[in-house]
Every structure is written in structure tokens, then in C-alpha cells.
């Protein structure tokens, strides 16, 4: 096959990173490093989110403990550690204790295949900044994410209480629905990279980030990742007004802390996956990558780009939380099953069609027809804006029946179709306007209003008193 025209298609399905120098101690060092990185990131994320949301709502946020309130998260973690660990009476004891462990362990496992950078020398051993990689990296990520759902559903079920059960089934339905659109978005990346290994996918993005070339898949992934992590506007499992605290309601102390930690680590996980699969992973952004023959893509520099990209997504999470309202559950499921999944399927079919045409019609220039096709789609989309909207037939308004708000002894609001009688003041004003329209009765009106003004109040001040 021609490697010149099909460069991106012919990447090896096997990992690019070379782990042959690793030994047990390096593995342990990397594993501890990942866990420490995640814990510190979560503590920082708690503070970051509170401060940022506070600024978006024009209030200061935590600013008392430490510089800019940075020790607030430590105080919270310490508080949870010092709280009493209770097991409710109705709980299924074994499952109740195991559920938070499943949640937090699965959340911590995702970073095993995320590349932080290229090869560096750690204590004289040359090794990639990545714990491990294999030819099924993306499947591993999806699989471990799905395992994490067990923590939620078992925790909610085993609490022996109504709110956690409802929160758990809601949460599970939500996560599995959005996992589908997420995996559909990732298929396009795998087709283009020709590999499921994360280091090979990063390698395939040396020229273009998939976020640029596969933009619809990127948008689909970003929407699904918010749904997947139960964050606003999709935080239905914890809709406080309806379900108290969802599946975590009956948990306290460190068990609650582990669920909470797993939620924040999952945010970091999906951000890292988005970075690796769509934003070129640890590769420096374009103008920087050209400096000094790719100096910023070697050594420890890539860790900086990786962390910056991940925190861009974390900022997006907080920004969305500060801006949007919660969905209603039926709207949410409808959005997932009727909008995101069809879009994902159509996009996969589109990418596959174009790629297979490129394979089969080698040497034929496909750019011109593709550009013409894209132009036609854009023109049609613009034209569709000018189509007259189909008017809904106006509901026929019947004469509103008289409605007595106090019929039952206490005031009730009017139902649709019922109209409140005008208030006494509105009735007076309407009568006055009617009278003013007939010039013959002006004198009578003024005579009526005069006694009210004698009390020294103008009509305006009287109105404000009424309010």
C-alpha cells in the first residue's frame, strides 16, 4: 500500500512507546506517582471549582484559610476523615462496604494508559512517561469506566433506602446511555489513527489534532463526557431537590469521601482521555512545537502541555456548571438516545465512507468533490434558515369562565384557561379610563377622586404603599 497518501491510516496497531527498560520498581514508582498526581489534582480541583463558581456568581468564595483559601480543600478532607462512619440499619452490609472501594479503584485505574509525555530518564532508566500501554488501550478505558458504574449501582441498592435506590438507577441509566455516544465518538478517532493504543494515537496526531479534523466527534465526546461524569447540566442523580444526594445519601465519613473523590477523578479521567485522543496528548500546541526543532516535545516539557490541556477541560466543566441549568430527566434521556447516538452513528458512517473511498480510489483527488459537498451542505443549512416555519395552529381561546380564587376558603392560583378577576385597583382604573373616553363624565370622575387626594397622598405614593 502507498504510505505517502495514507500516512495516518497505516500507523501500527501496537503501542509506539517502548517499555522494554521498565522493571518492577519503575512500575511501582509510576503507579504511586499517578495516585499522588490524582489526589493532589482533586484537592486543587475542589478549590479551583469553588473559587471559579464563586467568581462567576459575583461572590468571593473560600478565601479565609491559607493563601486565597487554598487550604479549604485540606480542611474538608480532614473533616471527612474525622467524621463518624455509620452503616444504616437496613443496609446490605458487605455490598455497602465494597461499593465505594469499587468506585474509587476503577476511577484511579484509568490513568494507567494515559501518556504524560515521551521517554525520559528516571534514575538512569530510560522509560516513557506512561505506566503501560497495549494494543487495546481505548477499550481498556471504556471497560474500566463501565466497571465504575458497579460502585454506584451497588452503593445505591445496598443502602436499603428509597432515595439512594432511585439515584442509583438514574445514575446508571444516564452513564450507560452517554457511554454509547462517547464510544461512538471515539470510533472515528480509532479509524483515523489505525490503533487503539493511546501512545500510537498521540503519535498519529503529530500533524493535526483530531479535535480539528474530527470536530463533530470532538463536540460529541465533550457533551457525552459531561453526561458521563454526572455534572451539571446533567447532574440528575444528585438533583438535590428531588433525590437528596442520590446514591450517596446513606454514606458518611470516608465512604462518602471515596464516592466524592471518584466523581472528581472521573472528571480528570475524561479530561485526560479527551486530551489524549483529540488534543494531541502531551504534544505542544502548534506555534510552540515549531520552536527550536521541537524542543518542547522532548524531556519533561510535555507534562506541562498535558496538564494545561487537562485543566482547560476542567475549566470547561466549571464554566458549564456556572452557566447552565439542570436538564429534566426525560429531556436528558431524549437528548442522549434521539440526538447524540444518531449523530454519532451518522458521523462514523461518514468518516468510514470517506476513508474507504481514499483507500479504494488511490491517486484520485477527492478534495474537490469533498469541498463541493461540504459547500452544498453549508448552503443548504443556510437556506434552511430562510424556510418559513410551520406555524402551530393557534389554540382557540374560549371565553374564560369566571374564577373565584377563594372558593375553597383559601386562595388558589388559576389553572390554565382560568383567568383571575381584575383586582379592585385594576377595576377602578379600567372604569376611570372608560369614563375618560366619554368627555361628558369627566367632571364626575374628578369629583370622585378628589376626596382621596385630600389625605395628602398622591395616587403614586398610594400605589407603592399597596405593593
Amino acid at each position: 500500500m502507498n504510505t505517502v497518501t495514507l500516512g495516518s491510516l497505516l500507523a501500527s496497531p501496537h503501542p509506539v512507546a517502548d517499555f522494554s527498560n521498565d522493571n518492577g520498581w519503575i512500575w511501582l514508582l509510576k503507579a504511586v506517582g499517578i495516585v499522588v498526581f490524582l489526589l493532589v489534582s482533586v484537592l486543587f480541583a475542589l478549590w479551583f471549582e469553588r473559587r471559579l463558581v464563586a467568581r462567576m456568581q459575583l461572590r468571593p468564595g473560600p478565601n479565609w484559610h491559607g493563601p486565597a483559601g487554598a487550604w479549604q480543600s485540606f480542611a474538608d478532607a480532614g473533616k471527612l476523615l474525622l467524621k463518624e462512619d455509620m452503616t444504616v440499619k437496613a443496609a446490605d452490609k458487605v455490598v455497602y462496604h465494597v461499593a465505594p472501594l469499587i468506585s474509587v479503584t476503577c476511577a484511579l485505574l484509568i490513568y494507567a494508559v494515559i501518556p504524560f509525555g515521551p521517554e525520559v530518564s528516571i534514575f538512569g532508566v530510560v522509560t516513557p512517561l506512561q505506566l503501560t500501554d497495549f494494543s487495546g488501550g481505548v477499550l481498556y478505558i471504556l471497560g474500566v469506566t463501565a466497571l465504575g458504574v458497579y460502585g454506584i449501582v451497588l452503593g445505591g441498592w445496598s443502602s436499603g433506602s428509597t432515595y439512594p435506590l432511585l439515584g442509583a438507577v438514574r445514575s446508571t441509566a444516564q452513564i450507560i446511555s452517554y457511554e454509547l455516544s462517547m464510544s461512538l465518538a471515539l470510533i472515528a478517532v480509532v479509524i483515523m489513527s489505525g490503533s487503539m493504543s493511546t501512545s500510537a494515537i498521540v503519535e498519529a496526531q503529530a500533524q493535526f489534532w483530531w479535535a480539528v479534523t474530527l470536530f463533530p466527534a470532538f463536540v460529541l465526546y465533550v457533551i457525552s463526557m459531561v453526561g458521563e461524569t454526572n455534572r451539571l447540566p446533567f447532574d440528575l442523580p444528585e438533583a438535590e431537590g428531588e433525590l437528596v444526594s442520590g446514591f450517596m445519601t446513606e454514606y458518611s465519613s470516608m465512604k462518602f469521601a471515596w464516592f466524592f473523590l471518584a466523581e472528581y477523578i472521573n472528571m480528570l479521567n475524561v479530561s485526560a482521555v479527551a486530551t489524549t485522543l483529540f488534543l494531541g496528548g502531551w504534544r505542544a500546541p502548534w506555534p510552540l512545537s515549531a520552536i527550536n526543532d521541537g524542543m518542547f516535545n522532548t524531556g519533561w516539557w510535555p507534562v506541562l502541555w498535558f496538564v494545561v490541556k487537562v485543566w482547560m477541560f476542567m475549566f470547561l466543566f466549571v464554566w458549564i456548571r456556572g452557566s447552565l441549568l439542570r436538564f429534566r430527566y426525560d429531556q436528558f434521556m431524549k437528548f442522549g438516545w434521539k440526538v447524540l447516538i444518531p449523530i454519532g452513528l451518522v458521523f462514523v458512517v461518514g468518516v468510514a465512507t470517506i476513508q474507504v473511498l481514499r483507500l479504494e480510489l488511490e491517486g484520485v483527488d477527492l478534495r474537490t468533490p469533498l469541498m463541493i459537498g461540504a459547500g452544498v451542505v453549508v448552503v443548504l443549512a443556510v437556506l434552511s434558515l430562510f424556510l418559513p416555519e410551520r406555524k402551530e395552529p393557534e389554540p382557540e381561546l374560549s371565553e374564560p369562565e369566571p374564577f373565584d380564587a377563594f372558593a375553597g376558603g383559601y386562595p388558589v392560583p388559576p389553572l390554565p384557561g382560568q383567568v383571575l378577576p381584575p383586582s379592585p385597583r385594576a377595576a377602578r382604573r379600567a372604569a376611570a379610563q372608560e369614563a375618560a373616553a366619554e368627555p361628558g363624565t369627566v367632571a364626575v370622575l374628578e369629583a370622585e377622586e378628589a376626596p382621596q387626594d385630600e389625605a395628602g397622598q398622591t395616587p403614586e405614593t398610594k400605589e407603592s404603599d399597596d405593593v
Partner: protein, 120 residues
């Protein structure tokens, strides 16, 4: 070539040690002042109805979502195998996968038309 799955076991071990350590620490240093009311479920002091464990019931809709999810998840897993070997399978793989997609999409549309995705 070292086994690439061993480091995952090591990371899993570290994560589990952390998780168990946290629970152990809170069990040791946390206060233990039990009373009966504290151990009741969060339900205004009465027993939750219906009792969740054993007889816990929730809307049948969730089963429908779960079954549809399994169908689609299997579809997606098959699509990954095809996506990795896209250039080797070429036109044959493309046509076969499109036929597979049609087989999955027809029941999907059927469920859609029959109101399987309606929650109201």
C-alpha cells in the same frame, strides 16, 4: 517483552491500599457514638416504603434502557475491531460493517417509533 498488564495490577494494588487505608483510618480516628435514630434510613424517621433491599422496585423503563444499551454496546465493541483493521479490511470490511449497522439500526428505529425512548 514484558507483560503490559502487570503494571495495571500494581496500580490497582496501590489504589486499593489507598482506599482501604482511608476506610481504616476513619474507622480508627472517627468518633463512634451510636444511637438507634442515627441508623435509620433517610426517610423522616419511618421505614422506607417500599423497602429497597429484596423488594426494591423501580420503573420498568430502566430495564428497557439497560437492554438497549447491551445491544448498542455489543455493536460498538464490534465496530472497534473493524476500526483498528480498517485499512486491511478495506472495501470488504466497510460493506460488511454497513450491513451490520443496518441490522442494528432497524430495531433501533422500531423502538424509537414504538416509544421506547419516551420518558414522559
Amino acid at each position: 517483552m514484558t507483560n503490559p498488564y502487570v503494571p495495571i495490577l500494581i496500580l490497582g494494588g496501590v489504589a486499593l491500599v489507598l482506599a482501604l487505608g482511608g476506610l481504616g483510618a476513619s474507622a480508627i480516628i472517627g468518633p463512634k457514638r451510636y444511637n438507634r435514630a442515627k441508623l435509620d434510613a433517610y426517610e423522616c424517621g419511618i421505614e422506607p416504603t417500599p423497602h429497597a433491599v429484596g423488594g426494591g422496585r423501580f420503573p420498568i423503563k430502566y430495564y428497557l434502557v439497560a437492554m438497549t444499551f447491551i445491544v448498542f454496546d455489543i455493536e460498538v465493541v464490534f465496530l472497534y475491531q473493524w476500526a483498528v483493521n480498517f485499512s486491511e479490511l478495506a472495501l470488504f470490511g466497510f460493506v460488511a460493517t454497513m450491513l451490520f449497522l443496518v441490522v442494528i439500526t432497524v430495531p433501533y428505529l422500531y423502538e424509537w417509533r414504538r416509544g421506547g425512548f419516551e420518558w414522559a
